[in-house]
Symmetry: C2
């Protein structure tokens, strides 16, 4: 297997952490999205949508989209389970991961893509068109990041991890979202969010967090 | 089971079609999002994010997010399989479904949420804040819908269905995205997109399409 990766981007990190939790390793190819390497012909031949990550299997099959790649890895390397063990926990983890992605990652991306000077003409990732940054979208994203923090903080008052009392893919995506909001959207966890801070310390201390 | 549904919205339709393909029925409760019923206290007690659909199991467990609800239903009612039968097809269908959701549904939602007068102060769904419509986002969405059609049309030149030669959840989400783009974003399939038109006729003719 070969992972087309990017250490500047939050989505490949979801897969790197997932693989580290599973103890799975593979060859990695770094794609620098700030330099636009994801839009080069060579990479578009691997992933026509020009997004990272892509996992290419040994027979050449390309798999893209972080949660879909994780689905493959969970099937092939079931232990430890990170996507649930019965119908309800599978659905709950999938739903919670989506909450983290839409409410957290999506909000931070609205800020970053619409305020980072290097992406002034790349308001969306991928090759389908040149989209100018929309400053109002950066402002909206900043409000949404705060709402994401508040909501996640409340949820973590009733359970140890994002989707219940077991570490799961939802925690991985939440960690990537929070760290992306902190770095790229310059919005760290507020001091008032004690549950979220407690959770962030715990998941950041796992060896996988530095994958 | 009880499905909190909305016939005006594209995401509950994903679940209705999925259930129809499985031959599963349940009680349904209609939530009118244009009237804001999804933001009423009663519904927020079921789904604190104020989004439709939500499936409530017989023991009271609420499941939300269309693909997560489908994941539950696929586990409990495996036949016919709509989310893959081996690790690669499971990942490919999950990835293709996300392409349909982000590139199609997301683009059409950018148009609709930022141009429909009834949502002038509801630029995003859910209760986390009042977001004014952003006209530039409606314009961006319209460009993205065209790119979505072009890309999907090319893909359907090499396979019968969205994720290969078998009907799957990716087709369901694609159908909901195309019909949403056609109705809410007022952008029908272009005449030049012959493969897409062929596919749309086939999937629209399935009895599940009217669920």
């Amino acid at each position: 297997m070969k992972l087309y990766d990017c250490h500047l981007a939050p989505n490949p990190r979801r897969v790197r952490i997932f693989m580290a939790e599973k103890g799975v390793t593979c060859e990695k190819v770094e794609i620098n999205i700030v330099k636009g390497e994801n839009l080069h012909e060579d990479y578009l031949a691997v992933n026509p949508r020009g997004l990272v990550p892509t996992l290419v299997l040994d027979d050449g099959t390309p798999l893209d989209e972080a949660p879909a790649i994780c689905r493959y890895l969970e099937e092939v390397h079931p232990a430890p389970p990170l996507m649930g063990t019965d119908p309800v926990s599978k659905a709950r983890i999938a739903a919670r991961e989506r909450h983290m992605e839409f409410d957290g990652m999506g909000a931070a991306a609205e800020v970053f893509r619409n305020s980072f000077p290097g992406f002034a003409k790349r308001g969306l990732p991928g090759p389908d068109g040149v989209f100018e940054a929309i400053p109002e979208l950066a402002q909206r994203g900043a409000v949404r990041v705060q709402a994401f923090y508040d909501r996640l903080n409340r949820a973590l008052g009733t359970c140890q991890f994002v989707a219940g009392d077991t570490f799961s893919l939802a925690d991985i995506t939440a960690l990537c979202a929070v760290d992306f909001a902190t770095s790229a959207a310059r919005t760290p966890i507020p001091n008032a969010c004690k549950n979220l801070q407690r959770w962030h310390e715990v998941v950041s201390a796992r060896p996988s967090a530095s994958a």
